[in-house]
């Protein structure tokens, strides 16, 4: 197996275990490249990539842009807040106009679930989903898997708990698909109100008690409470959430083994995890960011390989 089975990266749901392994293997090579004195390779020098961000982002956008530049692609950036979307242009029109300027690949983040799948059916370019509503965020899941593999050697048989706002999280869904395909056991943990109905049907364990969940796992992925997506109150107060689901040093030290702490960012320090935990030696949050560039280079390199 040496090429992807898909033409777009729309979600982890749509790719195979072999695809994931190919991406992670290729990312290892790119991680070596970005740690060289000269971090750039010419692989995508003849391609133009558009980054369309209809929703705010710091890490993902920067990470994609760096990945593109290190592959020598030409990059155009687009942010919805400063564009004609405000004047009423539709998604397909916006994208087709950008493609008319001869763009080969589109990286898109959008607030609507399914936006990337929709776009892949309408336009003639490679599409990479950089987050569509509460649906999927495939590159985040891939970089999380890469980071776990990097630290623990393999993913198969490992126990990973995802803690927090599962209901509004695209990171949770993509992570569940990705980790399960690679043979890990996945548990979700959070208040009942933030648990999607039927989440058990994905084959994950559900645990409402944080301490029990942490005792079970090898890796804890702490999610942010997405207040911007919560149109109603899901819990009485942030303070109460922190008391029940916030991770502090006391809790971490009380566990019977050392676990890895991950966070997709942005961190709300003092809410889902305290500063001490985020900066502790068990946290691999900044490694995740570094790995993100390598994984995104791998994804774009492999997708470009399918362009003839």
């Amino acid at each position: 197996m040496s090429s992807l089975s898909v033409n777009h990266l729309l979600g982890i749901k749509y790719i195979t275990k072999a695809d994931i392994e190919l991406i992670l293997d290729t990312a290892k090579n790119f991680k070596e490249v970005i740690n060289r004195p000269i971090k750039k390779v010419p692989s995508l020098r003849d391609l133009t990539v558009a980054n369309l961000f209809f929703e705010n982002s710091t890490r993902t956008k920067l990470s994609f842009e760096l990945a593109q530049k290190r592959l020598s692609a030409d990059v155009v950036n687009f942010a919805a807040s400063s564009s004609s979307v405000k004047k009423g242009e539709t998604l397909v029109d916006t994208v087709n106009n950008i493609l008319a300027m001869k763009v080969d690949m589109v990286v898109m983040r959008h607030a609507s679930p399914g936006a990337a799948v929709f776009l892949s059916k309408k336009v003639n370019a490679k599409i990479i989903n950089a987050g569509d509503g509460a649906h999927e965020h495939p590159t985040q899941a891939l970089l999380d898997a890469f980071s776990i593999q990097d630290k623990l050697g393999s993913i198969k048989g490992k126990k990973v708990v995802i803690v927090g706002d599962i209901l509004h999280s695209r990171v949770a869904l993509s992570n569940i698909f990705c980790l399960q395909k690679l043979g890990a056991e996945v548990m979700v943990c959070g208040p009942q109100t933030l648990m999607p109905k039927y989440i058990e049907s994905l084959g994950v364990k559900v645990e409402l008690n944080l301490k029990k969940a942490l005792e079970w796992c090898d890796v804890a992925n702490m999610l942010r409470i997405q207040l911007e997506r919560q149109d109603i109150k899901f819990f009485p107060s942030l303070r109460e959430y922190t008391m029940l689901y916030g991770l502090d040093m006391e809790m971490l030290n009380s566990l019977s083994k050392k676990i890895l702490i991950m966070h997709p960012g942005p961190i709300n320090r003092g809410i889902e995890i305290t500063s001490e935990v985020a900066d502790s030696d068990q946290s691999i949050i900044l490694e995740q960011v570094e790995n993100g560039v390598a994984v995104r280079m791998a994804v774009m390199f492999l997708l470009a390989g399918r362009m003839n």
């Binding site: 290729t26 090579n29 490249v33 060289r36 004195p37 000269i38 692989s43 592959l71 390199f301 390989g305």
Partner: protein
């Protein structure tokens, strides 16, 4: 037709020893020289040369690196490419580099290798060593300085280099389409 054996066993050993002595003539004790093998197949020859040189010169400190050219190739998207590991833990700035590959054919891999190498500094000079030089069908003005054996072959033929480490036997064969 049976595949034609070009080099084998002791013959191959003699050739490698000769290449090493040629290298020593130019590079003396390898104080300021490094060896870089090209992935995926050049690294085995590079390791052999390195081991032989180390034993002849009784110098355990000759630097050896492995370089992958995948991201620098010009046929990306024309054929499937699988990246390999680059493993160079030294800087080649102002060094004499001996670039090693098993077979020189079109010259495109070497071209990519020359580009890929630049990420590790500006070498003083670069020389090319190959086990087999396929004389015809060069696409670029690239020639090797040290050559194990030169052969004449047509484009549809293939040169296959087997190593004891990977295939169980040291052997170079020329394959034609029907083999």
């Amino acid at each position: 037709m049976k595949p034609r054996v070009i080099l084998e066993g002791e013959q191959l050993e003699v050739t490698i020893t000769r290449l090493c002595h040629q290298l020593i003539e130019v590079h003396d004790n390898f104080q300021n020289s490094v060896i870089i093998g090209l992935q995926p197949r050049g690294i085995y020859l590079a390791k052999r040369i390195h081991a032989k040189l180390s034993s002849i010169l009784k110098n355990k400190n000759i630097q050896l690196g492995e370089l992958d050219t995948t991201f620098f190739r010009d046929d990306f998207r024309r054929k499937e490419l699988i990246p390999n590991k680059t493993n160079i833990d030294f800087i080649i700035e102002e060094k004499n580099v001996v670039l090693i590959d098993d077979v020189l054919f079109t010259g495109r891999t070497i071209r990519a290798g020359l580009d890929a190498m630049l990420a590790f500094g500006r070498p003083k000079d670069v020389e090319l060593l190959v086990l087999i030089d396929r004389r015809f069908s060069r696409h670029l003005p690239i020639q090797a300085k040290y050559i194990g054996k030169t052969i004449d072959s047509i484009e549809s033929q293939k040169v296959r280099v087997d190593w004891e480490e990977t295939e169980g036997k040291d052997r170079v064969t020329l394959l034609t389409d029907k083999d």
